[in-house]
């Protein structure tokens, strides 16, 4: 655990080492996230709700999505880069350390631009989420579980690169989950909707947490927690099994 924390501290120091670049990227991401609110604002100018989702529900969906997504793509940036690291033999530096590789690998790089997502998500909740201590605790709880589902899904699909040697599937999986998580799960029907709660768990990254913020339901919270646990277990297993097929590259600086 000390090694993970020390690595994370180093990654944060590296990310903020150039304050001008850090803050400009953070600001750019906040503006990027604001543009999604503009889109939803335009839509809800035309209709009061879409399949039961109102403007305030969408604000909470965006708050959870940007917070959980920001955690995974910012401080845990290597979750997204895993296929590239596997394909190019970029895990060597981590494998040489006397620690479990996956946790260190995940915290080894911070993508500054996605830290803007976290700032935006938390700020959006504080402005539009009617914050109270209890609601804020719920927000932290559901956003954390959503981040676990999202990170685990990326590690799970990224680990397929150990077997296929290609990152095409994980690229598609990443883009698909981000896209599908950005919209209320209820606009979909049939097989697509079932997919969002199972193999492609986009509903657990934003829609289910946002529903919990609207009205907390213990059984829904347990389902979310169980999903996080299941995907985390599957991701760890896939990475561990896949690592046996990893081919080193004698490159020491990419992870």
């Amino acid at each position: 655990m000390r090694a993970v924390l020390a690595t994370a501290r180093g990654a944060v120091a590296e990310a903020v080492g150039n304050p001008g670049a850090f803050w400009s990227q953070l600001l750019a991401m906040v503006l990027n996230d604001l543009s999604w609110l503009v889109f939803w604002g335009i839509l809800f100018e035309r209709v009061p709700s879409v399949r039961g989702w109102t403007w305030s529900d969408i604000l909470m969906l965006q708050a959870v999505l940007t917070t959980s997504g920001g955690i995974v793509l910012g401080p845990l940036a290597n979750a997204r880069r895993l296929p590239e690291l596997i394909r190019t033999g970029g895990l060597d530096a981590v494998l040489a350390l006397p620690v479990r590789p996956l946790p260190v690998l995940l915290v080894r790089r911070v993508d500054a631009i996605n830290v803007g997502d976290i700032a935006f998500g938390v700020a959006l909740f504080l402005v539009a989420g009617h914050p109270t201590p209890a609601r804020f605790a719920t927000f932290v709880f559901v956003s954390t579980l959503a981040a676990v589902v999202f990170a685990s899904f990326l590690v799970l699909t990224g680990s397929l690169t150990f077997f296929s040697g290609s990152s095409s599937v994980s690229d598609l999986a990443f883009n698909a989950i981000v896209m599908l998580a950005s919209y209320p799960a209820d606009i979909f029907g049939g097989a697509t909707r079932a997919l969002l709660y199972t193999a492609l768990p986009a509903a657990f990254v934003a829609a289910v947490p946002a529903r919990l913020l609207r009205s907390f339901d213990t059984s829904d919270a347990l389902v979310l927690a169980a999903s996080a646990l299941a995907f985390a277990t599957a991701a760890t297993g896939a990475f561990t099994v896949g690592l046996r097929r990893y081919t080193a590259s004698s490159l020491w600086s990419r992870a």
């Binding site: 991401m29 839509l43 979909f188």
Partner: protein, 261 residues
């Protein structure tokens, strides 16, 4: 020996061959289907809940609009601005300066060569899917205009991305700009929704910007609104963007300093 004047053509053909061989085409098509399905479902749900049309579009027209507009953006290389900016900032573009052919010309040809097969694949897949989701095209013969409009839209977008990336000659880092450019296409370009749905002041601004040429016209045509003048608008914007991008690259190349080799 290939004549210098043929370099852009050769670059485009080579890039097209690579694009077809590349496994990324499958990922592009997969993501395109997901995005188009999501946006189609959202706007059909919205039009359905309203029970009538939205700014002149019914649910079927919106489906045709979105399957077309998404194809125009999905077919482009992701984070192109960031990649060009990095190649300028780290000096790798200097190798291209050694060639007896304009850097911008060869780059545009290469990018368009790689993009056109992906565009054909996205539209080839997307238009039948739109038909399955929403019925036949509102005005089938309007689809004849979609193809030239789509090519002009993609060309405008590629040239504009090079223009924005040229900023790297001065600031070195264009990574963050990519996100903002992308969102400008999404909203002011009409990718996520027809421009008629924008609120008044925002719509007025969008009509003045070049982003409208990059997604809206082909999508509007596919939705059954036969307005051939949209192609002239696109051609005008393409000329303007090309002239400005050429000037920006010329100024940037004069300014470029590279340390080491």
């Amino acid at each position: 020996v290939t004549p210098i004047a043929s370099w852009p053509v050769e670059a485009a053909r080579s890039a097209a061959r690579r694009s077809l061989r590349d496994g990324g085409l499958v990922a592009t098509l997969g993501f395109y289907v997901v995005v188009a399905e999501v946006m189609g479902a959202l706007w059909r749900a919205t039009a359905g809940s309203r029970g009538a049309d939205l700014a002149g579009y019914d649910g079927a027209e919106l489906t045709w609009y979105l399957f077309t507009s998404e194809a125009l953006v999905m077919c482009l290389a992701s984070r192109l601005i960031e990649r060009i900016g990095t190649e300028i900032a780290d000096g790798s573009i200097t190798v291209e300066l050694l060639r007896p052919a304009p850097v911008l010309g060869v780059r545009l040809a290469t990018e368009l060569g790689a993009t056109v097969p992906r565009l054909a694949a996205c539209l080839g897949l997307g238009l039948p899917l739109a038909w399955m989701a929403a019925g036949p095209p509102p005005r089938p013969w309007a689809l004849l205009l979609v193809l030239p409009a789509a090519l002009l839209a993609v060309a405008c977008n590629v040239v504009a991305q090079h223009l924005v990336a040229a900023w790297a000659f001065w600031v070195r880092n264009t990574g963050a700009v990519w996100f903002l450019y992308q969102k400008a296409i999404f909203i002011a370009g009409g990718m996520l929704l027809p421009l008629q749905l924008l609120p008044g002041p925002m719509r007025a601004v969008a009509w003045l910007l070049p982003f409208q040429a990059m997604a809206y016209p082909p999508a509007r045509l596919a939705a059954g609104h036969v307005e051939p003048w949209l192609l002239l608008l696109q051609a005008g914007w393409l000329l303007v963007l090309w002239l400005v991008a050429t000037a920006a690259f010329a100024a940037g190349e004069r300014r470029l300093q590279v340390v080491g080799g």
